[in-house]
Amino acid sequence: MSGKTLFDKIWDAHAVRSIQGGPDVLYIDRHYIHEVTSPQAFSGLRTRGVSVLRPERTVATADHNIPTVNQHLPVADPVSRSQVETLEENCHAAGITYFGMGDPGNGIVHVTGPERGYTLPGMTIVCGDSHTSTHGAFGTIAFGIGTSEVEMVLATQCLLQARPKQMRINVKGKLREGVTSKDLILYIIASLGAGGATGYFVEYAGEAVRKLSMESRMTVCNMSIEMGARGGLIAPDEVTFNWLAQIPSVSDNPEFSHLIHRWHSLRSDCGAHFGREVTFNAHEIPPMITYGTNPGKGMAIDGVIPSPGKAGPTFPASGHSTGSSYLKSLVYMGFRPGMKLLGHPIDYVFLGSCTNGRIEDLRLFAAAVAGKKRSAGVTALIVPGSQQVARQAEREGLTETLRLAGFEMRQPGCSSCLAMNEDKIPAGKYAVSTSNRNFEGRQGPGARTLLAGPLVAAAAAVTGRITDPRELNWQQ
């Protein structure tokens, strides 16, 4: 066993102390915070009489609990308004950079962080949000933490963290036309199951991964948590460096070329050992859709809902579904084993979230609906991941293309992904959603979520039913 993994290299460079028989003390380079998981952490600091150690390494945004319309008005719900105001006050008192609702730099934390150059290769990054794994796309160790850990990082810029096991997921070949990185990660999660990677940190590698754009890589890493992984990363390369070079605050840094040189060493050594390795062939991956109530319950868009405990032909024995839990979930969804979803009518479409709320997702959706019309029975929520994405969509004419097709662009926020704000899906309604979780009630009590990529969402939005996007005529 020789050579280090990329994960090892980053972890070892950040371990302040290794506790005998215990976790490591890990130094954190970047701490992202938002309004939902930080208030109790700041209160905790005040109770202890401790101040924020490194405000300059901390970046805040309001995203989870803000409306996606009329952001020029105060947040209507008083409790939610208070929560957002609490974050603003805490940041102001501590000298932490804060992008509030309506600020040109505001948006979903895992969209704005990378686009503003706060996420850089080789960093350790945490946030009180499980989709922090998104930042792994830049070759970072990034993972979600709870509020007590947020308090730990605010107080000491460190965390107590046990070193996870490591898994490498290799994806050979190339994704076919009409298949997105969202389909890729849904396929992987369906294969491994909702708890299939628990205890592991994943490295995504292989030809198909190398071919992904930065935003596509973020989609993949984002959903690592949905198979129980601690996080997921992709080694940085020219694609990464070119993306970062477009951000003035990054490329204007006189050290930039020196940093790129150093970042070239951020890759797993040839002989590096992983506890587990899994390989997939990209050309086998179809457009995907979920049918159950966890992200592992996905299948091909033209697939058949499997019977309990019976291996489906493509996804053998994924997710420990005991008969009763599984059947309960199908009842919730109004589905039955043996059913096909193709052609099933739907009520809502949500394009957005930290998974698929970036400019490339909007481009794909707009290209697929251009010249067509939103189906009459479909209510659509099109939510850009950030103010910057919204501005770019406007400049590229996407906002107008969408408007002509009957889709109104909203304002940035987490929106329907977790439906903390007013953007809830009503009970019993079917929503094709480009977000990351389809748990019972996730998008509203009784809401029925079908997770998908932006092309499947677009196809459903114009036909009003589950449709294979490859059957739709559109220009890529």
Partner: protein
């Protein structure tokens, strides 16, 4: 800051044998607007306990008076989903001090241990036996001995060891706070910052 010490817990238990119980079920997102740690206990499993009109859903275990206790017994991959620590606050706020399963989601387990909620990981077989016993005999006392790392049912022969990280174990037994530990090594952290490659 000291918290309650955890050594031996003897209590009746509440069986909830479903797999993949996620944090949205444990504490729905609409309750996350609060800025304090208290008040989440009554929101635990809210949408499984009460219907849209606020009426208790009969049959759900927390609505059945014969099942009470400080120990929750659940199915695989408990606590998957979000990193919301509010899920742990809801469970402890309701009165539970330990959760037993054959597997826990990573972030949930970390959050639980940081709040003195013990996660007891046992084999599938033991879990099935324990669940069956508690289901059919709700007054069964379950004993969790953290120093010995043993979970048992004194009235029957049922008994199993369970794993705990030694550092975490000591913190739980002594009621030690992780932040105090980190604050005590502040000098070392500052030294680390100075040593690093810029």
């Amino acid at each position: 800051m000291k918290r309650q010490e955890f050594t031996i817990l003897e209590s009746t238990a509440v069986p909830l044998p479903l797999a993949n119980i996620d944090t949205d079920q444990i504490i729905p997102a609409r309750f996350l607007s609060a800025t304090v740690r208290e008040g989440f206990g009554e929101k635990l499993f809210r949408d499984w306990r009460f219907d849209g009109n606020g009426n208790p859903i009969p049959g759900f275990v927390l609505n059945r008076p014969e099942y009470r206790g400080e120990i929750l017994i659940t199915g695989s991959n408990f606590g998957c989903g979000s990193s919301r620590e509010h899920a742990v606050w809801a469970i402890t706020g309701h009165g539970f001090r330990a959760v037993v399963s054959d597997s826990f989601a990573d972030i949930f387990m970390n959050n639980a241990l940081n709040n003195g909620l013990l996660t007891v990981t046992v084999s599938k077989e033991f879990l099935a036996q324990l669940t069956e016993l508690v289901n059919s005999h709700p007054t069964t006392t379950v004993r969790i001995d953290l120093p010995e790392q043993v979970i048992s049912v004194p009235s029957s022969g049922l008994r199993s060891g369970f794993p705990v990280n030694p550092f975490r174990k000591e913190c739980l037994i002594k009621g030690l706070d992780n932040i105090d530990y980190l604050l005590s090594m502040k000098e070392e952290i500052l030294e680390f910052e100075k040593r690093r490659q810029p």
